[in-house]
């Protein structure tokens, strides 16, 4: 006998209900970090557009940052922790291999029993999470999904590294994704390019560090020019595809929130896409730095808070980074 199982009941669409943000508590201006890299405030501003970055004190944990951002996102969504039935965290800096930060976070915010898992898509982590949340909600698998990008990158930097450490900051951004009668999150365009993983990498593995402590704790590096080239030209194509698959064009965009990797990348992307002057472009990197998976929700939260973006705006967002993972989608802002 063929048994027919009862599937979950799909819903027509999903939407972001609200955002939350938590930045590191310390302002670290360029002058504080130029010594060990024999550089200058001007050099960093010119190449990256960064004036200062936010970093967290030693006694502020990644969970602290994620919890603060999550509670605000839940509150801004008109929900309470117990309404959240799935928690997805994009991070590369949680200090334990297991359990997941998501499981601890779910417990901390009162989302008892929620689906909870971490996801290692680096700077694409938040948009990967939104893609998964959209799929979970539309399939009827979850009702209210908390998506968090959280990083304490200051734990994995080398102050003498001239490739990327000076870019990096700490923070967490969160969003709640729920059902909607009409789709307010477009199809996610996502993927990876593992063949070129060596362009953004750790100096060595934790096992190598365990066997040879003289190597020092592993830290992050990148091949800047190669990453720049990939980030601008590949990402521009992915943004065009995100818009096309949502049935939109560049002229429909109100807000552009690319991963805050480097101001020069953001400027080039805007130029390549020929964005109309009316488009609001997120430039949170200037005083926050590059916070990897947290950068997109942090930047979006700020634009909404400052009134530069408003409810109903068409926002296209894209994350790209290590693993050469990338993900982007169109979101109608809450």
């Amino acid at each position: 006998m063929t048994v027919s199982l009862t599937p979950t009941q799909p819903v027509p669409g999903s939407q972001v209900l609200g955002y939350g943000a938590a930045r590191g508590d310390l302002d670290v201006p360029n002058d504080d970090i130029v010594g060990p890299i024999n550089s200058s405030d001007e050099w960093i501003r010119q190449r990256t557009g960064i004036i200062s970055r936010k970093r967290a004190s030693a006694d502020v944990s990644l969970l602290d940052l994620a919890k603060k951002a999550s509670l605000e996102a839940v509150e801004n969504s008109g929900l309470t922790g117990s309404d959240i039935d799935a928690v997805i965290v994009g991070t590369i800096t949680f200090e334990y291999h297991t359990p997941s930060l998501a499981a601890l976070l779910a417990y901390e915010i009162g989302a008892d029993g929620a689906i909870a898992y971490d996801m290692g898509a680096a700077c694409a982590g938040f948009c990967y999470g939104i893609g998964q949340a959209d799929a979970l909600v539309r399939a009827g698998t979850a009702k209210n999904v908390l998506v968090v990008g959280a990083e304490k990158l200051s734990d994995i930097i080398d102050p003498t590294d001239r490739s990327m450490s000076f870019l990096l900051g700490d923070g967490a951004g969160a969003a709640v994704v729920s059902a909607s009668d009409v789709p307010k999150i477009g199809p996610t365009v996502w993927g990876s390019d593992g063949e070129n993983w060596k362009t953004i990498y750790m100096t060595h593995s934790l096992l190598e560090y365990k066997e040879n402590p003289e190597l020092g704790f592993p830290t992050l590096r990148q091949e800047g020019p190669s990453v720049f080239r990939w980030a601008v030209w590949h990402t521009a194509d992915m943004i065009r595809e995100s818009l096309e698959r949502s049935g939109l064009s560049v002229e429909d965009v109100d807000v552009f929130v690319p991963h805050q990797a480097n101001m020069r990348i953001i400027d080039q992307l805007a130029k390549q896409l020929k964005l109309p002057d009316s488009v609001v472009i997120a430039r949170d990197i200037e005083d926050t730095g590059n916070t990897s998976a947290a950068s997109i929700p942090l930047a979006t939260h700020r634009l909404l808070q400052e009134g530069k973006a408003k409810s109903g705006d068409v926002c296209v967002q894209i994350g790209f980074g290590a693993g050469l993972a990338y993900a982007g989608q169109v979101v109608i802002l809450p």
Binding site: Q46, R47, E223, P225, S226, F228, R229, V232, W233, Q268
Partner: protein, 82 residues
């Protein structure tokens, strides 16, 4: 259709001018991108990608570091389009 070396130089000068503001007349074969024209690695990548598009060639990342002077770039693009 293949571009002549003079056309490649003129096209490169336009690209360099647009990216950096350096006068097209200053973009000469013997000029070093970094030492003479003060072009940083990020601008160099932007110039490379625009040159790829303009001249319909592919310049691999590992080749970019060998393009020290404007003349090196003209020579590479000229041979790559052949």
């Amino acid at each position: 259709m293949a571009h002549t070396d003079d056309e490649i130089l003129a096209g490169l000068a336009e690209i360099v001018n647009e990216e950096t503001g350096v006068e097209t007349a200053d973009v000469q074969l013997d000029k070093s991108f970094t030492d003479d024209l003060d072009i940083d690695s990020i601008s160099m990548m932007t110039i490379v990608v625009n040159a790829e598009e303009k001249f319909d060639v592919r310049i691999p990342d590992e080749e970019v570091k060998n393009l020290v002077t404007v003349g090196d770039a003209v020579k590479y693009i000229s041979s790559a389009q052949a």
